[in-house]
Amino acid sequence: MTRAILALAVLALALPAAAQAQTPKTNAPPGNSAIDEYLETVPGATGNQRPRPPARNGGDGAAVLSAAERARLERLGPDGETLADAVEATAPARETQAKPDVTLPEGEGRSPTRELLGAIGGNDGGGGGMGVVLPAILVAALLAVITTVLLRRRAAS
């Protein structure tokens, strides 16, 4: 049940990110949107950059989560580790990652929600990416996981 919820959350995150990676954002002259050669590529859209590598360790690009951030998530257990994988696989590249509305100083906060927001938001600033939507989706998924775990423990006890 828990894994099913997690799988759904990862799928919901992966689809928009994959779509974003396939289709560069463009602007068209008024009235000539079907004339491809006159489309202006919007800088910072995913299609204007190399696709971010999915590899968690090494690969040919920097991971989204630092080692410390990943370690904090992994301390939450198998679910936290799975969520860390989901963040790595679907977040936009670090240099275009939007600052979310909620930012937390690193190292503060012990709840899984705070840990996850801190790991995703980071201090990169910049524009582009999914902005606060990505953290919101992940938070919702995490809450669903936590609720399920708690209910199972209550049922067991």
Partner: protein, 458 residues
């Protein structure tokens, strides 16, 4: 506030005109009617796409003397008729072509690449340049009018938007650009051919498309990058420097097509893309190339815009409203003139029919398809633009369709009050300042019995 202004204006001139396929493709009666409308809106130049009227065979035809415009395997009849009709109305002609017969393609053309776009032979372009220069030198006998000569063509434009794979291939070779060097060779070869016959004829580069693909391997090269590499330049700490160059480019005029996705003052988002207010990027590159002796001949090269336009609504539902269309046309002319452009050919005198879709066709004419004028026709003929110079002062720019004493007037209640008067030449530009302006002032220019559209200052 009335200016003592009998002195003639010395503002840098601006030649304006149109590029429209109907000048070449339409039946004679229709073509002539549209040439008449072209002159009625005070156009000076027409860009006519005359093509490359040689046999379109895979191999070069035997016994074909490509340098001789009288060779029977050429068919210049349609081009001759269009040029005679235009020159007969006092219009200057820029004869352009893009694409080539199949035998001009380089070897090993990939299957997915259109014929006539693959590594065109420099030698073939040189021969064609010589043929064109000879035929339209003003001395060549007109086969359709015995005893008369074909008129002289002012300039020849080689290719169109060479930074697009639609017109030229390859654009990229792995992670490096290929089209700048390829087009440099094409341009220089064509230049040699033209100048071998007529040193006075102008060789105009193809106009580059405004946007490219930022990543290697796409279908386009960004125009500023295209010109930087064609001109064998590089930037180092913000300064232009020479780059390695097998041979310098040769041409007389640089051209660009600065279409915009927004209003005329909206700059391109990417550093190497070039919309209307970004043409200065290309002017800077060109002046740098001249200073660093990276372009031939060694002289100051003019900059032209051989395509620019906006679609209007009506008829295009996604076009700009008609009044805005007229405003954008005037503002584009002014902004380009300010950046040093001295010739502009607006894309289309007449709207295209939508065909499959409005989005894939152009309704950018200053006339509707049925011949009715849009507001843009009046704007084209007598453009007027104001721009805030300071809190209380306006710059006023325009182009007069008549010679005489021109008045700049401001709306005051129900009447018009003259702010300045200047003497102007026919089709001459004026550029002056008026004082005590307020945002929202409505101004117009008046010369003889003709007035411009009203321009609302902002």
């Amino acid at each position: 506030m009335l200016g003592a202004a009998p002195a003639a204006q010395a503002a840098r001139p601006l030649n304006i005109g149109f590029f429209d396929g109907l000048y070449f493709a339409a039946e004679p009666a229709e073509r002539d009617a549209w040439l008449d409308r072209t002159t009625a809106v005070a156009a000076h130049t027409v860009r006519i796409n005359i093509g490359w009227p040689a046999p379109n065979t895979v191999t070069r035809p035997p016994d074909f003397d490509a340098r001789d415009p009288a060779d029977p395997q050429y068919d210049f009849s349609r081009a001759d008729a269009a040029i005679v009709a235009a020159r007969g109305r006092g219009l200057q002609v820029l004869a352009s072509f893009t694409g080539a017969p199949a035998w001009v393609d380089g070897p090993n053309r990939p299957a997915g690449v259109a014929r006539g776009t693959w590594k065109p032979s420099t030698r073939a372009l040189e021969d064609y340049g010589a043929a064109l220069a000879r035929r339209y030198s003003g001395r060549f006998p007109d086969p359709a009018r015995p005893g008369q000569r074909l008129p002289r063509v002012k300039g020849f434009q080689v290719w169109n938007e060479p930074n697009l794979s639609k017109y030229l291939n390859p654009q990229w070779n792995g992670g490096r650009t290929a089209s700048p060097a390829l087009y440099r060779r094409m341009l220089s070869g064509f230049y040699r051919g033209v100048k071998s016959v007529d040193r006075r004829a102008l060789v105009v580069t193809a106009g580059t498309a405004p946007f490219g693909d930022p990543q290697p391997g796409g279908n386009r090269v960004q125009p500023a990058r295209f010109w930087r590499e064609l001109l064998c330049l590089r930037t180092l700490r913000g300064q232009l420097r020479r780059a390695a160059c097998p041979a310098r480019a040769s041409f007389d005029v640089l051209s660009h097509h600065p279409y915009s996705v927004g209003q005329p003052r909206r700059a391109a988002l990417n550093a190497d893309d070039v919309s209307i207010p970004d043409v200065r990027k290309l002017v800077r590159l060109l002046r740098g190339a001249e200073r660093l002796q990276r372009v031939l001949p060694r002289k100051r090269h003019p900059v032209w815009v051989t395509e620019i336009s906006y679609d209007s609504n009506p008829p295009d539902p996604d076009g700009v409203p008609e009044a805005t269309h007229a405003r954008y046309l005037q503002e584009a002319f002014y902004l380009l003139w300010r950046q040093g452009v001295d010739t502009i050919t607006w894309f289309q005198v007449r709207d295209q029919l939508p065909g499959a879709s409005f989005a894939a066709t152009s309704q950018s004419g200053v006339f509707f398809h049925d011949g009715r004028p849009k507001l843009a026709a009046a704007a084209f003929r007598f453009p007027l633009v104001t721009e805030r110079a300071s809190t209380m002062q306006l710059r006023v720019w325009g182009r007069s369709p008549r010679a005489g004493r021109l008045s700049i007037q401001r709306r005051v209640g129900p009447s018009w009050r003259t702010l300045r008067t200047v003497k102007v030449r026919r089709n001459g530009t004026f550029f002056l300042r008026v004082n005590r302006f307020r945002a929202g002032d409505r101004l117009r220019a008046r010369v003889a019995d003709e007035t411009s559209l009203v321009w609302t200052s902002r």
